[in-house]
């Protein structure tokens, strides 16, 4: 008999670890069997070596991408949530913009990146604009959906007590919408990383996306892969940050079984 703690540890960590080993094995095998040169596909150890040797470079370029991602994301929250409140509470605004937002949600906003670069140049501003653009939609759409899903009874209860609009918002609508806001933020943060990298691809002089491009153009494929891994860590870390925010908000959230 295995004790249940150990059993859980095996399923939680053992299996994913095993999956990772399988993939690394396939990678090494592909390099050997295909006899691929390092320029095409470096072996994992070469990538690891590049990661360690160029760590400082990866960190400094990574920091640029982190700033673009987080600032753009925060901008999307700061602008998206108040706009969502306005749209959810005003019938004309709702009729005017909500269908538009839904329609625009499935448009690939990153396609605007080249145009935004023409407008704002190759610096931080254009990256912020692109990140904001991709992160804004899931946040505003989910927040509006959350605000509109506030049970009618709760609104009537507040009304019957002559609650002020501010009280209704703070004590009823926003807490009711919070699980939706968090769902939107999780999608938004993932898109934000993608937006930052695309922005750097289209035109930049710093950042992990830029590093990736310049490394491939110099045929330094191990460094390109190292940059790719750094980007992955960045994406995961950003997502975990939102999950942390969710954990902190736990006391105000309904049990996860009832979440959307």
């Amino acid at each position: 008999m295995i004790n249940p703690m150990v059993a859980r540890l095996i399923t939680r960590i053992g299996y994913p670890l095993f999956g990772l080993v399988v993939i690394l094995g396939a990678w090494v095998l592909a390099c050997w069997l295909g006899n691929l040169p390092t320029v095409v596909l470096p072996t994992p150890d070469k990538v690891f070596h590049a990661f360690i040797a160029r760590f400082d470079l990866l960190m400094s370029e990574g920091w640029v991408t982190v700033k673009e991602t987080l600032y753009g994301f925060l901008l999307a929250i700061v602008i998206g949530i108040p706009l969502a409140v306005a749209i959810a509470n005003s019938r004309p605004l709702n009729l005017m913009f909500y269908p538009l937002l839904i329609a625009l949600q499935s448009v690939p906003k990153v396609a605007l990146a080249p145009i935004i670069l023409v407008w704002l140049g190759t610096g931080m501003e254009s990256k912020l604009a692109i990140v904001w653009l991709v992160a804004f939609f899931p946040i505003i759409v989910d927040t509006v959906a959350g605000l509109r899903s506030t049970p009618r009874e709760l609104l009537e209860l507040a009304d019957s007590l002559r609650a002020s609009p501010m009280q209704v918002f703070l004590k009823v609508q926003f807490p009711a919408a919070l699980p939706f806001v968090i769902t939107g933020a999780k999608v938004a943060i993932t898109l934000a990383v993608i937006g930052a990298v695309i922005g750097e691809f289209v035109g930049a002089s710093e950042g992990l996306g830029f590093l990736l491009l310049s490394a491939t153009s110099q045929l330094d494929t191990p460094l390109a892969f190292a940059a790719l891994f750094a980007l992955s860590f960045l994406g995961i870390a950003a997502y975990l940050l939102v999950e942390l925010a969710e954990k902190l908000a736990e006391p105000w959230l309904p049990p996860s079984s009832q979440r959307h």
Binding site: E153, E156, S160, L161
Partner: protein
């Protein structure tokens, strides 16, 4: 004048308020009139969709009426007066608040959330047998327990009038009978006036001093039935001749029972 007078209230939902897709105005309530005294429990009985919820919303001042008048405690109701208690069909608790904080919600809105309010919240939770659950979250409670919390929330600010919209309609029969007895007990202890919407004939009679029977939509008052069953009532009351007689009259007024030999002529609905 009676404590509450509802006179010729009519409601037509027209463009702007309509929830349905159709542009046609909906006559939700044709003509409702009745009175009630302070401390009375009046049951509003009618087929579903006849306009009972609409009438409660109008009495609460939550929506406007097309014509007629509603007067509660000497004040004409045109907007929420702030001293009603509301209990809905679903408990409608806030999942992000503990039980006691749900009960205290009205006091927060009324900016009265003081020590006395907390004491009263605990007292009310004791009255409905939920003292041990004050700090639980709503989802940890059964449907009947949640509805008891909703009842406490409706009573916390000592409202003049309690509006209950099919509050026990979603509960199983046994829980519903328990809740009926609980409501009778709470009425005795708080002296609250109650408008109680239901589509259960026996529940309406068991709880009330007066049953207002509504016709199909658009609702008119089909019949007003005085219930003179003595207090305190218990489940035995359901098996008395007076109770059965009231059930017969209500069934006829609702049109589920063809008038018998000694049937009286209907008032209102037949016009």
């Amino acid at each position: 004048m009676a404590f509450g007078t509802i006179r010729n209230v009519r409601k037509v939902f027209s463009a702007g308020e309509l929830i349905s897709r159709s542009r046609e105005p909906v006559v939700a309530l044709d003509d409702a009139s009745f009175d009630f005294e302070q401390g009375q429990l009046v049951a509003l009985l009618g087929p579903s969709g006849c306009g009972k919820t609409t009438l409660l919303r109008i009495v609460a001042g939550l929506i406007s009426k097309t014509s007629g008048s509603v007067n509660i405690g000497g004040r004409e109701v045109t907007e929420p007066l702030g001293d009603y208690g509301f209990v809905f069909q679903s408990p409608s608790l806030m999942p992000w608040r503990s039980v006691v904080d749900n009960v205290l919600f009205p006091m927060e809105i009324l900016k009265n959330n003081n020590k006395a309010a907390r004491a009263r919240a605990n007292e009310l939770l004791g009255l409905v047998g939920l003292s041990n659950f004050a700090h639980a979250r709503p989802h940890q409670l059964s449907g009947g327990m949640q509805q008891r919390v909703a009842l406490c929330r409706a009573l916390i600010h000592q409202p003049k009038l309690l509006l209950m919209d099919e509050p026990f309609g979603a509960l199983d029969e046994l829980t519903r009978l328990e809740m009926n007895d609980l409501l009778l007990r709470i009425r005795r202890e708080t002296g609250a006036s109650v408008l109680f919407v239901t589509h259960s004939i026996s529940e309406a009679i068991y709880l009330s001093d007066k049953v207002i029977v509504f016709s199909r939509r658009p609702a008119r008052v089909a019949r007003e039935i005085q219930i003179d069953l003595p207090y305190p009532r218990s489940q035995r009351t359901r098996f008395t001749a007076a109770f059965t007689e009231a059930e017969r009259i209500a069934s006829e007024a609702l049109g589920v029972l063809p008038p018998g030999s000694e049937a009286e002529t209907e008032t209102g609905a037949a016009s």
